[in-house]
Protein backbone atom coordinates (compact mmCIF):
# COMPACT_ATOMS: atom_id res chain seq x y z
CA UNK A 1 0.00 0.00 0.00
CA UNK A 2 1.19 3.47 -0.92
CA UNK A 3 0.49 6.69 0.99
CA UNK A 4 0.63 10.18 -0.52
CA UNK A 5 0.23 13.66 0.92
CA UNK A 6 -1.36 16.16 -1.45
CA UNK A 7 -2.15 19.86 -1.28
CA UNK A 8 -5.67 20.50 -2.50
CA UNK A 9 -5.69 23.25 -5.16
CA UNK A 10 -9.45 23.80 -5.20
CA UNK A 11 -9.42 26.91 -3.05
CA UNK A 12 -6.98 29.13 -1.15
CA UNK A 13 -7.37 27.00 2.02
CA UNK A 14 -4.76 24.64 0.55
CA UNK A 15 -5.68 21.62 2.71
CA UNK A 16 -3.07 18.88 3.21
CA UNK A 17 -4.84 15.70 2.22
CA UNK A 18 -3.50 12.16 2.86
CA UNK A 19 -4.43 9.45 0.41
CA UNK A 20 -3.93 5.67 0.81
CA UNK A 21 -3.58 3.86 -2.49
CA UNK A 22 -3.50 0.20 -3.51
CA UNK A 23 -2.21 0.29 -7.07
CA UNK A 24 -4.64 2.57 -8.87
CA UNK A 25 -7.41 2.21 -6.28
CA UNK A 26 -7.98 4.84 -3.60
CA UNK A 27 -8.57 3.20 -0.21
CA UNK A 28 -8.95 6.25 2.03
CA UNK A 29 -8.76 10.05 2.01
CA UNK A 30 -8.14 12.03 5.21
CA UNK A 31 -7.35 15.66 6.08
CA UNK A 32 -9.77 17.21 3.58
CA UNK A 33 -12.17 19.80 5.04
CA UNK A 34 -14.82 19.57 2.33
CA UNK A 35 -16.20 17.07 -0.22
CA UNK A 36 -14.34 18.80 -3.04
CA UNK A 37 -11.07 17.91 -1.31
CA UNK A 38 -11.97 14.20 -1.35
CA UNK A 39 -12.91 14.33 -5.04
CA UNK A 40 -9.71 16.23 -5.82
CA UNK A 41 -7.53 13.77 -3.90
CA UNK A 42 -9.09 10.77 -5.64
CA UNK A 43 -8.62 12.30 -9.08
CA UNK A 44 -5.17 13.67 -8.26
CA UNK A 45 -3.89 10.23 -7.21
CA UNK A 46 -4.92 8.60 -10.47
CA UNK A 47 -4.76 11.33 -13.15
CA UNK A 48 -4.09 14.95 -12.10
CA UNK A 49 -6.38 17.36 -13.95
CA UNK A 50 -5.92 21.12 -14.39
CA UNK A 51 -7.54 24.12 -16.03
CA UNK A 52 -5.16 25.53 -18.67
CA UNK A 53 -4.97 29.26 -19.38
CA UNK A 54 -2.92 30.86 -22.12
CA UNK A 55 -3.18 33.40 -24.94
CA UNK A 56 -3.69 33.20 -28.71
CA UNK A 57 -2.64 35.70 -31.35
CA UNK A 58 -5.43 38.09 -32.28
CA UNK A 59 -5.49 40.16 -35.44
CA UNK A 60 -7.03 43.59 -35.54
CA UNK A 61 -7.77 43.60 -31.79
CA UNK A 62 -7.12 46.24 -29.14
CA UNK A 63 -4.26 44.03 -27.88
CA UNK A 64 -1.87 41.65 -29.71
CA UNK A 65 -3.04 38.57 -27.80
CA UNK A 66 -6.34 37.25 -26.47
CA UNK A 67 -6.48 35.38 -23.13
CA UNK A 68 -8.07 31.93 -23.36
CA UNK A 69 -9.09 29.23 -20.87
CA UNK A 70 -10.17 25.60 -21.12
CA UNK A 71 -13.88 25.11 -20.44
CA UNK A 72 -13.06 22.11 -18.21
CA UNK A 73 -10.02 20.51 -16.61
CA UNK A 74 -7.66 18.56 -18.85
CA UNK A 75 -4.99 16.02 -17.84
CA UNK A 76 -1.84 17.68 -16.46
CA UNK A 77 0.21 15.28 -18.60
CA UNK A 78 -1.29 16.85 -21.76
CA UNK A 79 -0.25 20.45 -21.02
CA UNK A 80 2.67 20.51 -23.44
CA UNK A 81 0.66 19.10 -26.34
CA UNK A 82 -2.24 21.40 -25.51
CA UNK A 83 0.10 24.42 -25.67
CA UNK A 84 1.30 23.28 -29.11
CA UNK A 85 -2.31 23.34 -30.35
CA UNK A 86 -3.00 26.73 -28.77
CA UNK A 87 0.13 28.20 -30.37
CA UNK A 88 -1.13 27.29 -33.86
CA UNK A 89 -4.25 29.42 -33.48
CA UNK A 90 -4.78 32.98 -34.62
CA UNK A 91 -8.16 34.71 -34.34
CA UNK A 92 -9.65 37.96 -35.60
CA UNK A 93 -11.35 40.63 -33.48
CA UNK A 94 -14.11 41.31 -32.53
CA UNK A 95 -14.30 38.47 -30.02
CA UNK A 96 -16.91 37.95 -27.31
CA UNK A 97 -16.21 36.37 -23.94
CA UNK A 98 -16.80 32.57 -23.84
CA UNK A 99 -16.56 32.32 -27.66
CA UNK A 100 -15.14 28.89 -28.61
CA UNK A 101 -11.60 29.25 -30.01
CA UNK A 102 -10.68 25.51 -30.24
CA UNK A 103 -13.43 22.90 -30.18
CA UNK A 104 -12.73 19.69 -28.22
CA UNK A 105 -9.03 20.24 -27.47
CA UNK A 106 -7.10 17.03 -28.34
CA UNK A 107 -10.19 14.92 -27.75
CA UNK A 108 -10.42 15.89 -24.07
CA UNK A 109 -13.98 17.12 -24.46
CA UNK A 110 -12.87 20.54 -23.19
CA UNK A 111 -13.09 23.58 -25.46
CA UNK A 112 -10.62 26.45 -25.43
CA UNK A 113 -12.72 29.58 -24.98
CA UNK A 114 -12.04 33.33 -24.97
CA UNK A 115 -11.71 34.53 -21.39
CA UNK A 116 -12.65 38.12 -22.30
CA UNK A 117 -14.26 40.11 -25.10
CA UNK A 118 -12.01 42.06 -27.41
CA UNK A 119 -13.11 44.93 -29.61
CA UNK A 120 -11.68 45.67 -33.05
CA UNK A 121 -8.80 48.10 -33.12
Amino acid sequence: MEEKELICVNCPMGCRVRVQLEGNTVISVTGNQCPRGKKYAEQESICPMRILTSTVTVENGQHRVLPVITSAEIPLSMMEDAMKEIRKVSVRAPITMDQVIIHDLLGTGADVIASRSMAER
Binding site: G14, I51, T53, T55, Q62, H63, P67, M83, S115, R116
Partner: protein
Protein backbone atom coordinates in the same frame (compact mmCIF):
# COMPACT_ATOMS: atom_id res chain seq x y z
CA UNK B 1 -15.25 73.63 -11.61
CA UNK B 2 -17.45 70.61 -12.38
CA UNK B 3 -18.77 69.07 -9.18
CA UNK B 4 -19.67 65.39 -8.74
CA UNK B 5 -21.35 63.53 -5.91
CA UNK B 6 -18.50 61.01 -6.06
CA UNK B 7 -15.18 60.71 -7.84
CA UNK B 8 -13.49 57.31 -7.76
CA UNK B 9 -9.77 57.19 -8.49
CA UNK B 10 -8.98 53.87 -10.17
CA UNK B 11 -11.11 51.66 -12.44
CA UNK B 12 -9.82 48.27 -11.33
CA UNK B 13 -11.62 45.71 -9.21
CA UNK B 14 -11.96 48.08 -6.24
CA UNK B 15 -13.05 51.14 -8.24
CA UNK B 16 -15.63 49.25 -10.30
CA UNK B 17 -17.12 47.57 -7.23
CA UNK B 18 -17.32 50.91 -5.39
CA UNK B 19 -18.95 52.57 -8.44
CA UNK B 20 -21.54 49.81 -8.83
CA UNK B 21 -22.39 49.92 -5.11
CA UNK B 22 -22.76 53.73 -5.12
CA UNK B 23 -25.13 53.55 -8.10
CA UNK B 24 -27.14 50.78 -6.51
CA UNK B 25 -27.55 53.00 -3.46
CA UNK B 26 -28.85 56.04 -5.32
CA UNK B 27 -25.63 58.00 -5.84
CA UNK B 28 -26.08 58.90 -9.51
CA UNK B 29 -23.54 61.59 -10.33
CA UNK B 30 -20.25 59.71 -10.25
CA UNK B 31 -17.03 59.64 -12.24
CA UNK B 32 -14.41 56.88 -12.37
CA UNK B 33 -10.88 57.88 -13.43
CA UNK B 34 -8.67 55.12 -14.88
CA UNK B 35 -5.10 55.58 -16.11
CA UNK B 36 -5.01 52.50 -18.38
CA UNK B 37 -6.64 52.37 -21.83
CA UNK B 38 -9.40 50.12 -20.45
CA UNK B 39 -11.03 49.42 -17.09
CA UNK B 40 -10.32 46.25 -15.10
CA UNK B 41 -6.95 47.07 -13.59
CA UNK B 42 -4.47 44.32 -12.84
CA UNK B 43 -7.13 41.63 -13.48
CA UNK B 44 -6.67 42.13 -17.23
CA UNK B 45 -3.17 40.63 -17.11
CA UNK B 46 -4.01 37.89 -14.56
CA UNK B 47 -5.24 35.44 -17.18
CA UNK B 48 -5.02 32.42 -14.83
CA UNK B 49 -8.12 31.03 -13.15
CA UNK B 50 -9.13 31.07 -9.49
CA UNK B 51 -10.92 34.42 -9.28
CA UNK B 52 -14.46 34.78 -8.01
CA UNK B 53 -14.87 31.64 -5.88
CA UNK B 54 -16.51 33.75 -3.18
CA UNK B 55 -18.24 36.40 -5.31
CA UNK B 56 -19.62 34.24 -8.13
CA UNK B 57 -19.07 30.70 -6.75
CA UNK B 58 -17.07 29.89 -9.88
CA UNK B 59 -13.40 29.89 -10.86
CA UNK B 60 -13.02 32.67 -13.40
CA UNK B 61 -9.96 34.07 -15.13
CA UNK B 62 -8.96 37.62 -14.16
CA UNK B 63 -10.20 39.20 -17.41
CA UNK B 64 -13.54 37.35 -17.11
CA UNK B 65 -13.97 38.59 -13.52
CA UNK B 66 -13.18 42.15 -14.67
CA UNK B 67 -15.58 41.89 -17.61
CA UNK B 68 -18.51 40.99 -15.35
CA UNK B 69 -17.93 44.18 -13.36
CA UNK B 70 -17.28 46.32 -16.44
CA UNK B 71 -20.63 45.13 -17.88
CA UNK B 72 -22.41 45.82 -14.61
CA UNK B 73 -20.94 49.33 -14.51
CA UNK B 74 -22.04 49.91 -18.12
CA UNK B 75 -25.57 48.70 -17.38
CA UNK B 76 -25.74 51.21 -14.52
CA UNK B 77 -24.37 54.00 -16.75
CA UNK B 78 -21.26 54.60 -14.68
CA UNK B 79 -18.99 57.02 -16.54
CA UNK B 80 -15.44 55.71 -16.67
CA UNK B 81 -12.76 57.97 -18.14
CA UNK B 82 -9.91 55.75 -19.36
CA UNK B 83 -6.45 56.94 -20.37
CA UNK B 84 -6.79 59.47 -17.59
CA UNK B 85 -4.07 60.07 -15.03
CA UNK B 86 -4.89 61.70 -11.72
CA UNK B 87 -2.10 64.11 -10.84
CA UNK B 88 -3.44 65.85 -7.76
CA UNK B 89 -5.75 65.51 -4.75
CA UNK B 90 -6.24 67.89 -1.84
CA UNK B 91 -8.13 67.88 1.45
CA UNK B 92 -10.96 69.95 -0.10
CA UNK B 93 -11.71 66.89 -2.29
CA UNK B 94 -10.51 68.54 -5.48
CA UNK B 95 -9.13 66.06 -7.99
CA UNK B 96 -6.86 67.09 -10.85
CA UNK B 97 -6.52 64.79 -13.84
CA UNK B 98 -5.05 64.87 -17.31
CA UNK B 99 -6.02 63.10 -20.55
CA UNK B 100 -5.56 63.72 -24.29
CA UNK B 101 -9.18 64.81 -24.89
CA UNK B 102 -9.73 67.30 -22.07
CA UNK B 103 -6.16 68.24 -21.14
CA UNK B 104 -5.64 69.33 -17.56
CA UNK B 105 -8.86 69.38 -15.53
CA UNK B 106 -9.76 69.93 -11.89
CA UNK B 107 -13.08 68.66 -10.51
CA UNK B 108 -14.53 68.56 -7.00
CA UNK B 109 -16.68 65.99 -5.25
CA UNK B 110 -18.72 65.37 -2.12
CA UNK B 111 -16.81 62.13 -1.69
CA UNK B 112 -13.59 60.83 -3.21
CA UNK B 113 -12.86 57.09 -3.10
CA UNK B 114 -9.22 56.08 -3.47
CA UNK B 115 -9.16 52.75 -5.33
CA UNK B 116 -5.64 53.23 -6.60
CA UNK B 117 -4.15 49.73 -6.26
CA UNK B 118 -0.55 48.94 -5.46
CA UNK B 119 2.85 48.74 -7.13
CA UNK B 120 5.61 46.16 -7.06
CA UNK B 121 8.74 46.40 -4.98
CA UNK B 122 11.69 46.71 -7.37
CA UNK B 123 15.31 45.63 -7.56
CA UNK B 124 16.40 48.97 -6.06
CA UNK B 125 14.11 48.33 -3.11
CA UNK B 126 15.65 44.91 -2.40
CA UNK B 127 19.24 46.02 -3.06
CA UNK B 128 20.78 43.29 -5.24
CA UNK B 129 24.46 44.02 -5.94
CA UNK B 130 25.93 43.66 -9.42
CA UNK B 131 25.76 45.12 -12.86
CA UNK B 132 22.80 46.77 -14.55
CA UNK B 133 21.96 44.54 -17.51
CA UNK B 134 18.60 44.22 -19.26
CA UNK B 135 16.57 41.16 -18.29
CA UNK B 136 15.54 42.03 -14.73
CA UNK B 137 11.82 42.60 -14.40
CA UNK B 138 9.23 42.71 -11.69
CA UNK B 139 6.97 39.66 -12.07
CA UNK B 140 3.92 41.78 -12.84
CA UNK B 141 5.79 43.70 -15.54
CA UNK B 142 6.81 40.45 -17.29
CA UNK B 143 3.20 39.27 -16.87
CA UNK B 144 1.86 42.33 -18.66
CA UNK B 145 4.37 41.97 -21.51
CA UNK B 146 3.38 38.32 -21.97
CA UNK B 147 -0.38 38.31 -21.37
CA UNK B 148 -1.40 41.63 -22.89
CA UNK B 149 1.39 42.60 -25.28
CA UNK B 150 2.34 39.05 -26.34
CA UNK B 151 6.11 39.18 -25.64
CA UNK B 152 8.00 36.51 -23.69
CA UNK B 153 10.71 38.35 -21.74
CA UNK B 154 13.27 35.51 -21.76
CA UNK B 155 14.09 31.85 -22.27
CA UNK B 156 16.10 30.98 -19.14
CA UNK B 157 14.50 32.34 -16.04
CA UNK B 158 15.05 32.57 -12.29
CA UNK B 159 12.55 34.08 -9.86
CA UNK B 160 13.36 35.90 -6.64
CA UNK B 161 10.52 35.89 -4.11
CA UNK B 162 7.73 33.39 -3.70
CA UNK B 163 4.87 35.88 -3.98
CA UNK B 164 1.88 34.61 -5.92
CA UNK B 165 2.62 36.59 -9.09
CA UNK B 166 6.11 35.07 -9.25
CA UNK B 167 4.70 31.56 -8.86
CA UNK B 168 2.02 32.17 -11.48
CA UNK B 169 4.70 33.48 -13.86
CA UNK B 170 6.91 30.43 -13.24
CA UNK B 171 4.12 28.23 -14.62
CA UNK B 172 3.12 30.64 -17.37
CA UNK B 173 6.66 31.05 -18.74
CA UNK B 174 7.28 27.28 -18.52
CA UNK B 175 4.14 26.65 -20.59
CA UNK B 176 5.37 29.21 -23.13
CA UNK B 177 8.59 27.23 -23.55
CA UNK B 178 10.97 28.99 -21.17
CA UNK B 179 13.13 27.06 -18.69
CA UNK B 180 12.50 28.23 -15.12
CA UNK B 181 15.46 27.19 -12.94
CA UNK B 182 13.93 27.94 -9.58
CA UNK B 183 12.35 30.31 -7.10
CA UNK B 184 14.37 31.69 -4.17
CA UNK B 185 12.60 32.85 -1.03
CA UNK B 186 14.44 34.79 1.69
CA UNK B 187 12.09 33.61 4.45
CA UNK B 188 11.97 30.00 5.72
CA UNK B 189 8.35 29.81 4.52
CA UNK B 190 6.69 30.66 1.22
CA UNK B 191 4.87 33.95 0.75
CA UNK B 192 2.57 32.45 -1.85
CA UNK B 193 -0.63 30.48 -1.39
CA UNK B 194 -0.06 26.71 -0.90
CA UNK B 195 -2.19 25.94 -3.98
CA UNK B 196 0.16 28.02 -6.12
CA UNK B 197 3.24 26.23 -4.75
CA UNK B 198 1.54 23.00 -5.82
CA UNK B 199 0.08 23.88 -9.19
CA UNK B 200 2.72 26.36 -10.39
CA UNK B 201 5.98 24.84 -9.07
CA UNK B 202 5.49 21.18 -8.11
CA UNK B 203 3.39 20.40 -11.20
CA UNK B 204 6.33 21.47 -13.37
CA UNK B 205 9.20 20.29 -11.18
CA UNK B 206 10.44 23.81 -10.45
CA UNK B 207 12.54 23.92 -7.24
CA UNK B 208 11.67 26.30 -4.39
CA UNK B 209 14.76 27.39 -2.45
CA UNK B 210 13.55 28.56 0.98
CA UNK B 211 15.96 30.73 3.04
CA UNK B 212 17.83 31.71 -0.14
CA UNK B 213 18.30 34.99 -1.97
CA UNK B 214 19.98 36.41 -5.07
CA UNK B 215 23.29 37.91 -3.97
CA UNK B 216 24.73 39.06 -7.29
CA UNK B 217 23.72 39.63 -10.91
CA UNK B 218 26.16 39.48 -13.83
CA UNK B 219 25.87 40.60 -17.46
CA UNK B 220 27.13 43.39 -19.68
CA UNK B 221 24.11 44.22 -21.83
CA UNK B 222 21.78 41.35 -21.07
CA UNK B 223 21.64 39.36 -17.83
CA UNK B 224 23.96 36.32 -18.15
CA UNK B 225 24.26 34.79 -14.71
CA UNK B 226 23.03 35.14 -11.13
CA UNK B 227 24.49 34.11 -7.78
CA UNK B 228 22.11 32.62 -5.22
CA UNK B 229 23.12 32.12 -1.56
CA UNK B 230 21.56 30.49 1.46
CA UNK B 231 20.71 32.90 4.28
CA UNK B 232 20.99 32.37 8.02
CA UNK B 233 18.43 33.08 10.76
CA UNK B 234 19.50 36.75 10.58
CA UNK B 235 18.51 36.69 6.85
CA UNK B 236 22.13 37.49 5.89
CA UNK B 237 23.83 35.43 3.12
CA UNK B 238 26.07 32.60 4.37
CA UNK B 239 29.50 32.67 2.62
CA UNK B 240 30.36 29.41 0.89
CA UNK B 241 26.76 28.52 -0.02
CA UNK B 242 26.80 30.27 -3.42
CA UNK B 243 25.08 28.61 -6.41
CA UNK B 244 25.17 29.96 -9.95
CA UNK B 245 22.47 29.91 -12.62
CA UNK B 246 23.06 30.98 -16.22
CA UNK B 247 19.85 32.86 -16.90
CA UNK B 248 18.83 35.71 -19.21
CA UNK B 249 15.88 36.77 -17.07
CA UNK B 250 15.37 37.44 -13.37
CA UNK B 251 11.85 38.11 -12.15
CA UNK B 252 11.27 39.85 -8.83
CA UNK B 253 8.21 38.87 -6.85
CA UNK B 254 9.21 40.49 -3.60
CA UNK B 255 6.17 42.31 -2.39
CA UNK B 256 3.51 44.85 -3.20
CA UNK B 257 3.14 48.31 -1.69
CA UNK B 258 -0.07 50.42 -1.75
CA UNK B 259 0.19 53.29 -4.20
CA UNK B 260 -0.13 56.22 -1.86
CA UNK B 261 1.31 59.42 -3.29
CA UNK B 262 -2.14 60.98 -3.78
CA UNK B 263 -3.12 60.17 -0.20
CA UNK B 264 0.14 61.71 0.99
CA UNK B 265 -0.50 64.82 -1.05
CA UNK B 266 -3.95 65.24 0.49
CA UNK B 267 -2.38 65.03 3.96
CA UNK B 268 -4.08 61.73 4.82
CA UNK B 269 -2.82 59.90 7.91
CA UNK B 270 -0.98 56.74 6.84
CA UNK B 271 -0.50 53.38 8.57
CA UNK B 272 3.21 52.51 8.78
CA UNK B 273 2.41 48.78 8.70
CA UNK B 274 0.06 48.56 5.70
CA UNK B 275 1.65 51.62 3.98
CA UNK B 276 -1.90 52.64 3.07
CA UNK B 277 -4.23 55.19 4.72
CA UNK B 278 -5.68 54.64 8.19
CA UNK B 279 -9.46 54.21 7.79
CA UNK B 280 -12.43 54.03 10.15
CA UNK B 281 -15.38 51.62 10.18
CA UNK B 282 -16.80 53.47 7.12
CA UNK B 283 -13.47 53.14 5.30
CA UNK B 284 -13.09 56.92 5.60
CA UNK B 285 -9.54 58.26 5.89
CA UNK B 286 -8.43 61.00 8.30
CA UNK B 287 -9.62 63.58 5.71
CA UNK B 288 -13.43 63.87 5.86
CA UNK B 289 -15.11 62.66 2.68
CA UNK B 290 -12.06 60.81 1.32
CA UNK B 291 -12.41 57.02 1.46
CA UNK B 292 -10.00 54.20 0.58
CA UNK B 293 -10.32 50.54 -0.39
CA UNK B 294 -8.64 47.69 -2.24
CA UNK B 295 -4.91 47.17 -2.69
CA UNK B 296 -4.33 50.90 -2.27
CA UNK B 297 -5.49 50.48 1.32
CA UNK B 298 -3.72 47.20 2.12
CA UNK B 299 -2.53 44.41 -0.16
CA UNK B 300 -5.09 41.61 -0.55
CA UNK B 301 -4.50 38.05 -1.72
CA UNK B 302 -7.96 37.48 -3.23
CA UNK B 303 -9.83 39.83 -5.55
CA UNK B 304 -13.09 38.70 -3.95
CA UNK B 305 -12.06 40.50 -0.76
CA UNK B 306 -11.18 43.63 -2.76
CA UNK B 307 -14.66 43.61 -4.29
CA UNK B 308 -16.23 43.15 -0.85
CA UNK B 309 -14.12 45.83 0.81
CA UNK B 310 -14.76 48.36 -1.99
CA UNK B 311 -18.51 47.79 -1.65
CA UNK B 312 -18.19 48.40 2.10
CA UNK B 313 -16.28 51.62 1.49
CA UNK B 314 -19.00 52.77 -0.92
CA UNK B 315 -21.66 52.01 1.70
CA UNK B 316 -19.54 53.96 4.19
CA UNK B 317 -19.48 56.89 1.76
CA UNK B 318 -23.29 56.69 1.42
CA UNK B 319 -23.68 56.75 5.22
CA UNK B 320 -21.38 59.76 5.45
CA UNK B 321 -23.23 61.59 2.63
CA UNK B 322 -26.54 61.04 4.43
CA UNK B 323 -24.97 62.57 7.52
CA UNK B 324 -25.74 59.61 9.73
CA UNK B 325 -22.12 59.51 10.84
CA UNK B 326 -21.32 61.82 13.74
CA UNK B 327 -17.82 62.85 14.60
CA UNK B 328 -17.39 61.52 18.09
CA UNK B 329 -15.23 59.37 20.28
CA UNK B 330 -13.02 56.99 18.35
CA UNK B 331 -11.56 53.64 19.41
CA UNK B 332 -8.29 52.63 17.80
CA UNK B 333 -7.99 49.11 16.43
CA UNK B 334 -4.47 47.76 16.33
CA UNK B 335 -2.31 44.69 15.89
CA UNK B 336 -1.32 42.89 19.07
CA UNK B 337 1.15 40.06 19.55
CA UNK B 338 1.56 37.83 16.48
CA UNK B 339 -0.41 40.15 14.18
CA UNK B 340 1.17 42.45 11.59
CA UNK B 341 -1.78 44.77 10.90
CA UNK B 342 -5.50 45.35 11.36
CA UNK B 343 -7.87 47.18 8.97
CA UNK B 344 -9.97 49.27 9.68
CA UNK B 345 -7.78 51.00 12.26
CA UNK B 346 -10.43 53.22 13.89
CA UNK B 347 -13.96 52.50 15.08
CA UNK B 348 -16.34 55.38 15.81
CA UNK B 349 -18.08 54.91 19.16
CA UNK B 350 -21.38 55.76 17.42
CA UNK B 351 -20.85 52.97 14.85
CA UNK B 352 -24.11 51.00 14.57
CA UNK B 353 -23.19 48.38 11.98
CA UNK B 354 -21.16 45.19 12.02
CA UNK B 355 -17.49 45.73 11.13
CA UNK B 356 -15.30 43.01 9.64
CA UNK B 357 -11.64 43.36 10.50
CA UNK B 358 -9.05 42.16 8.02
CA UNK B 359 -5.70 41.17 9.50
CA UNK B 360 -2.54 39.22 8.80
CA UNK B 361 -0.37 37.16 11.14
CA UNK B 362 3.38 37.74 11.45
CA UNK B 363 4.44 34.09 11.20
CA UNK B 364 2.98 30.60 10.66
CA UNK B 365 0.71 29.19 13.37
CA UNK B 366 -0.28 25.50 13.51
CA UNK B 367 -3.28 26.04 15.81
CA UNK B 368 -3.83 29.70 16.50
CA UNK B 369 -5.64 31.23 19.44
CA UNK B 370 -7.15 34.50 18.17
CA UNK B 371 -8.18 37.05 20.81
CA UNK B 372 -10.03 40.33 20.27
CA UNK B 373 -9.89 42.75 23.21
CA UNK B 374 -11.39 46.14 23.96
CA UNK B 375 -9.30 47.80 26.64
CA UNK B 376 -8.64 44.93 29.05
CA UNK B 377 -11.91 43.17 28.27
CA UNK B 378 -11.83 40.09 26.04
CA UNK B 379 -14.57 40.46 23.40
CA UNK B 380 -14.08 37.05 21.85
CA UNK B 381 -11.59 34.25 21.39
CA UNK B 382 -11.46 31.52 18.82
CA UNK B 383 -9.15 28.78 17.64
CA UNK B 384 -8.18 28.34 14.01
CA UNK B 385 -5.85 25.91 12.29
CA UNK B 386 -2.97 26.86 9.98
CA UNK B 387 -2.63 30.62 9.90
CA UNK B 388 0.10 32.04 7.69
CA UNK B 389 1.26 35.53 6.64
CA UNK B 390 0.28 34.92 3.01
CA UNK B 391 -3.37 34.39 3.89
CA UNK B 392 -5.48 37.34 5.03
CA UNK B 393 -7.79 36.61 7.96
CA UNK B 394 -11.16 38.10 8.90
CA UNK B 395 -12.77 38.69 12.27
CA UNK B 396 -16.15 40.36 12.77
CA UNK B 397 -17.00 42.99 15.37
CA UNK B 398 -20.70 42.31 15.71
CA UNK B 399 -23.40 44.84 16.60
CA UNK B 400 -23.71 43.19 20.00
CA UNK B 401 -19.96 43.54 20.62
CA UNK B 402 -20.10 47.23 19.64
CA UNK B 403 -22.24 47.84 22.72
CA UNK B 404 -19.57 46.23 24.89
CA UNK B 405 -16.64 48.39 23.77
CA UNK B 406 -14.64 49.75 26.70
CA UNK B 407 -11.54 51.05 24.99
CA UNK B 408 -9.13 50.60 22.12
CA UNK B 409 -9.37 47.30 20.26
CA UNK B 410 -6.49 44.88 19.75
CA UNK B 411 -6.33 41.58 17.89
CA UNK B 412 -3.64 39.17 18.98
CA UNK B 413 -2.70 35.65 17.89
CA UNK B 414 -0.75 33.08 19.88
CA UNK B 415 0.00 29.38 19.40
CA UNK B 416 -2.72 27.49 21.29
Amino acid sequence: MRHYQAVIIGGGSAGLSAAVTLKENGIEDILVLEKDAEAGGILQQCIHNGFGLQTFKEQLSGPAYAERFIRKAEELNVSVLCGTMVTGLNDRREVTYVNPEEGYVTVSADVVILAVGCYERSRGAVEIPGERPAGIYTAGQAQRYLNIDGYLTGKNVFILGSGDIGLIMARRMTLEGAKVYGVAELMPYSNGLPRNIKQCLEDFGIPLYLSHTVTHVYGKDRLERIEVSKVGKDLKPIPGTEMYFDVDTLLLSVGLIPENHLADEAGILMDVRTKGPVVDDNYMTSVPGIFACGNGLHVHDLVDFVTLEAARSALGAVRWLKGTQTADKVYKASAGQGVSYVVPGRINASCDHRVDFFFRVRQNFETAQITMKSGDKVLRTLKKKKLMPSVMEQLPLTEKMLGELEGDITIEVTEA
